[in-house]
Symmetry: C2
Subunit: 468 residues, 2 copies
């Protein structure tokens, strides 16, 4: 087998990189669980018709075919009745909606869940855009109804989760929020009926600039120049306190826009910004240009940028949808956000924002004096592990210098040298007993130690993930 | 959307089931890390030619096709140069071998890694046999050489990992070990050259019985009746101490078998059984009928049964392979075992061997007195979470009875009632301040509590996973 090369769009990390990713996943999970979100996992596949239900062809679904079952060219029909055509999920929202419907009778609503899994999209790979990547989602879903306060709670949980990563060098985040009711109420109040079209145009503001968007609004959303200018005026408003609401009202009044929907949206947006100012000061910013193209959002919408890395795009997006799922009988509204873990980790590693103190979990390598006495070294390892200290035993009874090098190459801070019982040398002279010793190979300091009591410094117990 | 139905072979768990699975994954990972295994994850896909390299068509590979890219009937050619045909991995060994070759320059050998991921096989689903399932693998791989002692170490790490699950009601396991050198040396010493064929026949012992295997050996492996009887005699030997080695020597002597390979294998098997008797008494059993059909094993082979659930099949298998990977220049020998996590979890849940104390992480539901004072309840939640207590705030300011029911339905043990500041009633009479109170809804006991200091009993802090 020749040396294989990486597949573009399918990122993999070396053990150190995986340690960073695992640390982040553990931290996210802990915050989610502290807030009462239950973890679930769904299968990686969904029936293809479900994946394409919302016309999501842009997600470039990967379709599965069983190599044994079907001849090439006949991939649309299976020989077994349970062989509906399957595709890999491209997000965790579609599978979650299906899971909710399938298990509704066994779930308690409102149901708060987190879900951390890989998803697949056959898009062209770019910086921060992969074909296989990890998402970490939280959603709350109600049966029939879902109170607004969850639209305030969820971005604050995300702020706390991502904020907990500051300790390892992750830059601060800014969560940009808007409310679909504000946008829709304002546009309709202006006399623009193609709300979808306006949102799609506004969504391009960062790409084509205000002039470009104005042209799009006129050409594609049927706006007059004056209406386009009003839309851009709204999109230009942002701020992190309730004054942002007053500014929207002022713009609306100037353009003679009155709308109940707008007013409802403004009350909601104001509540979110006010709560956020108390509970996550400086993190949440109302930004009226945030559109989120997806048509199923009906209330709050969220995007999240890594401060100083805005060009990476959003690392956490989501919103409120009145119909996450429906079985015809009952409708399940929800609100959720999805963290792009791979995008985040790839930037942290690529820009060396985060480092790891060693490439293995082991805090200690127990040296082996001779293969005959490997059992002694194993027993020392067992004694240390029993007290929660990660330990490996050296691979061979090489010279101690080589065994120290083994530890050093992996960044393991301590090497343990087994002692020996009292005995007699070949010439008959008595040899006294020798105690175990442990060496900090960074400082060279070596001390006597007992595997039943010795403790490494807390900072050395596990690999340290830290700012680069 | 009509109520969806499960896909056969793609198991999913309710939140309680996922809590069991997550507990098991955490416990396995902790043991692996205590032994110095580094965690890695590989992408879910491999080039199809690599997946089929060992002729593994029996694994029923799932092949991927991008819906957008290719017309049906043209699935064999991609339009981009990086579009080699891809399939989902069917185990974690093939991807690990590829990862080792790809990253050899960045890894330190011997390299000990664990890997916990889903794998896919398009086989017909049965009890304990899925199309999508989770495996937890440990392997050690060397560059050029790998000492035998790792063949002793790895099953003992597995014994410790699975043994750590006894606390939650997982039955004890029995790890059955054999050594390919013993089998091969014995067969060749008997004059049987089709070692593969003999192993394949012996592998069917549980299915077709000794008479059936004897017939197979004669018909398919070219054995005489006497040779077949000798093979069955060897296969009948088992035991958990070194006497098993003497019994093999005795049978070999009786059939005039002498073989260096056999002798090497017996020394190895003896060392494994002796070490296991000390470090995991009663868990490891030498069983000379264990064949493991795969041709790449060259030394120790392992299978693991759940005691009392032997008919479930092996829940952890593996062995030593002299050529895990090779880049033509260098060969990488390895030894590893793979735990079938989904098979184990499915039995634990199906047979109700394990239960969970609640369906959500929350130890406390903070009641909401009125929507106007939800902020008070939020602040109580924040104070409790800051001390590591999982908390959720009630979904609505319903009557307290309904809020208690919300907690009760999820098995949350505590409900917290916010107090209130001193004030004045509408008729002018002073209302004294009221302290926060917390109620254990199981006993009904309700006490005053301060969110800055109150602590639930340790056993109630997180959901308890326990024997059913």
């Amino acid at each position: 087998m020749a040396r294989p090369t990486p597949l573009s769009g399918f990122p993999e990390w070396l053990p150190q990189g995986r340690t960073v990713e695992q640390h982040i996943l553990d931290a996210l999970r802990r915050t989610f669980e502290l807030h009462g979100f239950a973890g679930i996992e769904t299968r990686a596949v969904e029936p293809l018709d479900q994946l394409l239900r919302k016309g999501e062809t842009s997600k470039e679904v990967y379709v599965l075919r069983r190599l044994q079952e079907e001849a090439p060219g006949d991939s649309s029909s299976g020989s077994e009745s349970d062989d509906r055509q399957l595709g890999l999920h491209f997000d965790l929202t579609v599978p979650f909606a299906r899971y909710v419907l399938e298990n509704a009778g066994h779930l308690a609503f409102p149901f708060k869940r987190y879900q951390i899994q890989k998803v697949w999209r056959g898009e062209r790979p770019q910086d921060g855009r992969f074909r296989e990547f990890v998402q970490a989602d939280i959603d709350v879903v109600g049966a029939g109804e879902l109170p607004y306060h969850y639209e305030v709670e969820l971005p604050l949980v995300i702020a706390e989760a991502l904020g907990s990563l500051a300790a390892i060098g992750v830059p601060p985040v800014r969560i940009l929020v808007n409310n679909r009711k504000v946008a829709e109420g304002f546009y309709r109040g202006l006399g623009l009926e193609d709300v979808e079209g306006v949102l799609r145009s506004i969504d391009k503001l960062d790409k084509v600039g205000p002039k470009g968007v104005a042209a799009l609004l006129v050409a594609e959303a049927g706006a007059t120049g004056e209406q386009a200018a009003a839309c851009l005026e709204l999109a230009g408003i942002s701020g992190s306190d309730a004054s942002v609401v007053d500014r929207v009202r002022e713009v609306a009044a100037r353009h003679c826009v009155t709308s109940e929907l707008l007013e409802t949206g403004l009350v909601e947006l104001g509540a979110l910004v006010t709560a956020a100012a108390e509970r996550a000061p400086g993190v949440v910013v109302a930004d009226l240009k945030i559109a989120r193209g997806l048509d199923y959002y009906t209330g709050s919408v969220y995007e999240t940028v890594l401060v100083g890395h805005e060009q990476l795009g959003s690392i956490c997006s989501g919103g409120r949808y009145d119909t996450l799922a429906s079985d015809g009988d009952k409708t399940y509204p929800g609100v959720g956000l999805s963290i792009g873990v791979s995008r985040l980790v790839s930037r942290l590693l690529g820009a060396e924002l985060v480092t790891v103190s060693r490439s293995v979990p082991s805090a200690v390598v127990v040296a082996v004096t001779s293969e005959e006495t490997r059992g002694e070294s194993d027993r020392i390892g067992t004694a240390l592990r029993a007290r929660g200290i990660p330990v490996e035993v050296a691979p061979s009874a090489a010279k101690f210098g080589k065994q120290i090098k083994y530890a050093d190459r992996r960044g393991v801070p301590f090497v343990w040298f087994p002692g020996s019982a009292a005995g007699t040398a070949e010439d008959g002279t008595p040899v006294p007993a020798k105690s175990d010793q442990v060496k900090d190979i960074r400082s060279g300091e070596q001390v006597e130690a007992d595997p039943a009591t010795w403790q490494p410094p807390a900072a050395d117990l596990w690999p340290r993930v830290q700012a680069g």
